[in-house]
């Protein structure tokens, strides 16, 4: 079994701010991490590897320093990795990103059984790249997976829908997106770190995966960002001191609840 996990390096979004003067992102001092949702996807792959034996390959697309998260994934148990990095593919939206990832998966020439993604990345929050890759590869798509088993080329997956859980069955190969309810990601092991250190990670650009430049990067992206800005700041309404006068504060809450029909 060959499992591919697509991971993304993201800024720790809790600390991203905008410069109100220039309307550009302030990147200084913001730590880069593996997208937290991708850790759950990786863990599902590693669980399947533990159970059935499998080769787990991690792929990321980003600047050269994104290779850090590939090493981290290998330290946890992934077997090998590919870094997709090239100016020609930078600035891609979800369509162009899906195109590049699917070409890289094709280029590996392994006919992967599973291609896993986190449910979304915390920087863009689009949840579109997993479905996009499924479309380019023409693989079936299963989203919001919280548990997964594979037997005799058939998968069974529990998926989180808006009103409950659906249990789905289908044939491999498949593209899946995984939610955090699936598991707790494992820590890196010593053997993993050794493998991560000793294994060479190929860096591929547009040429290596034979990409059509017109479909890459900014040029290949149908969506364009025309403006970024800080969300409007609200000043808030009435403020009361509930530490000194909790009774008055409670009375005011009750009054407002009555006024607004909260009985």
């Amino acid at each position: 079994m060959h499992i591919i996990v697509c991971v993304k390096q993201v800024p720790d979004t809790a600390n991203v701010r905008i410069n109100p003067e220039t309307n550009t992102l302030i990147r200084e001092g913001v730590e880069s991490i593996m997208n937290p949702f991708d850790e759950y996807a990786l863990e599902e792959a590693l669980k399947l590897k533990d159970e059935h034996g499998a080769r787990v390959t991690v792929i990321t697309m980003g600047p050269p320093q994104a290779g850090v998260i590939l090493r981290e994934a290998m330290a946890r148990g992934a077997d090998d990795a590919v870094l997709l990095t090239d100016r020609a593919i930078a600035g891609a939206d979800t369509l162009a990103t899906s195109y590049i990832l699917s070409l890289a998966i094709r280029k590996l020439n392994t006919k992967p059984d599973l291609v896993l993604f986190g449910k979304q990345a915390i920087d863009g929050d689009t949840a579109q790249v997993g479905p996009g890759v499924s479309e380019f590869l023409k693989y079936p798509l299963v989203t919001y997976v919280k548990s997964l088993t594979v037997k005799d080329g058939v998968f069974t997956a529990e998926t989180m829908m808006d009103e409950g859980v659906d249990v789905l069955e289908g044939k491999l190969p498949v593209v899946m997106t995984v939610v955090k309810e699936a598991s707790t990601p494992r820590f890196a092991s010593l053997g993993g770190w050794i493998n991560a250190k000793e294994t060479e990670i190929p860096a591929w650009g547009a040429k290596e995966i034979e990409a059509d430049i017109a479909q890459c990067g900014l040029d290949g992206s149908p969506t364009k960002v025309v403006k970024i800005f800080a969300p409007p700041v609200k000043t808030g309404g009435k403020k009361m001191d509930g530490l000194q006068t909790p009774g008055d504060a409670v009375n005011e809450i009750v009054r407002l609840l009555k006024e607004k029909g909260g009985r």
Binding site: D125, K138, G164, D166, I228, M240
Partner: protein, 396 residues
């Protein structure tokens, strides 16, 4: 769809079997030392094209030259339904779609996919649709991404809408992204504001990014349709007009078979959909431990509301993700939102700031939650909440 997804030239095929090995779906086999296609298994993924060293495999020629944007007209809303029940977000999108269609002086249409769903068209017309495209077939009885994408893409290709909107639900976020890639067009997720340029028809799509710390406005200048998803409860519904006239068009399509089948469905009947709640009493990290949520649960009960929670509560395992308010949880828009011990991380505020009335209790006078609160109490929730419970219990 053409008859054969790929064409194998028997003159050029040397019988090397590389294409058979490359096919992920076992759609190719060898016969008399030549590659042969099983069209029913082929998904036109083109893996074999790349694998053939002799250029013996080609795709049928695709028609169409450069895109003429003026061919694309009308605003569409994907009206999601579940076993015949139209999701509330569809009506919210129709209200917004109506505004966009009027600004563009164009038509508003709804698309509904499902089985035994034709009757729902009337409510979509009452909500503002001029036309309703209905694909009503047994294969659509249950949601499956590939079948849904197939149906939507076929209808889009036939009528060429300028804009297509869907709710950012579990269903909408998944198959809509597949459909947008199939149409090779742009898709903008989780929009919180939409406006259209009446002249050019360009849709301005505004959405939060980086956990809500930044807003971005995005356009799709050279591709059509312009596709976008919107989270439930971001836009408001309009009152239905049962006297509105509209046209219902039944689309008979030849659809693919589903890739997956549902073997079991577990609907949690006790699960509350916080997105539909009128009153939410929500707790955060300030509760200190999960047991203290009971106090808020009781308060919610007294007010006829439901329990909400910040991401910190859910991550700590104090309650299930179904209660989570915020960007990774649900967007809510209740009449009254009471926040206890929630400091108001931007990703939480994004999920509840459009509530009609917000009351916040927090020890920290500088907590960001006070910035959106109509009434902010700087105080100890362990003092305020029990007093409030007593006041409500004895107050009538």
């Amino acid at each position: 769809m053409s008859d054969a997804p790929i064409i194998i030239d028997p003159e050029k095929c040397k019988g090397c079997k590389l294409c058979v090995k490359a096919c992920p779906f076992e759609a190719l086999y060898m016969e008399d030392k030549l590659a042969v296609l099983k069209p029913e298994e082929c998904r036109a993924c083109s893996a074999c094209l790349d694998s053939c060293p002799f250029d013996a495999i080609t795709e049928p020629e695709k028609k169409g030259g450069p895109l003429d944007l003026s061919d694309y007209k009308g605003i569409w809303v994907f009206a999601e339904q579940n076993h015949g029940r139209v999701q509330e977000v569809a009506y919210e999108l129709l209200a917004t779609g109506r505004r966009l269609a009027d600004d563009r002086q164009g038509e508003l249409a709804a698309v509904i996919l499902g089985h035994n769903v034709t009757d729902a068209a009337a409510s979509l017309i009452a909500a503002g649709a001029d036309k309703v495209y209905v694909v009503d077939q047994p294969v659509l009885a249950e949601y499956e991404a590939n079948v849904y994408a197939d149906a939507l893409n076929q209808v889009m290709a036939k009528y060429k809408p300028e804009v297509v909107l869907a709710g950012a639900t579990a269903v909408g976020r998944a198959f809509f992204a597949k459909a947008a890639v199939r149409a090779r067009t742009g898709l903008t997720a989780d929009c919180t504001a939409l406006s259209i340029d009446g002249e050019s028809g360009l849709l301005h799509q505004t959405r939060p990014a980086f956990g809500g710390n930044i807003m971005a406005t995005i356009i799709t200048p050279n591709h059509r349709p312009q596709m976008a998803t919107v989270r439930p409860k971001v836009f408001k519904t309009a009152p239905p007009d049962p006297n509105r006239k509209g046209e219902t068009l039944i689309e008979a399509l030849k659809l693919v078979a589903p890739d997956t089948k549902i073997v079991r469905t577990e609907r949690d009947l006790n699960a509350v959909n916080i997105a539909d709640a009128e009153i939410i009493v929500a707790g955060g990290r300030g509760l200190k431990k999960g047991d203290n949520l009971e106090m808020l649960r009781k308060l919610a009960g007294l007010l006829g509301g439901v329990l909400g929670a910040s991401r910190a509560c859910v991550d700590a395992g104090w309650c299930s993700a179904a209660h989570q308010v915020g960007q990774t949880g649900k967007t809510v828009c209740p009449r009254i939102y009471l926040a206890f011990g929630i400091s108001g991380a931007i990703q939480h505020l994004e999920g509840m700031r459009s509530s009609d009335t917000i009351i916040a209790v927090n020890r920290d006078a500088n907590a960001p939650i006070f910035g959106v609160a109509d009434l902010g109490i700087v105080g100890d929730l362990f003092e305020i909440a029990p007093r409030l419970i007593t006041a409500l219990e004895t107050g009538k």
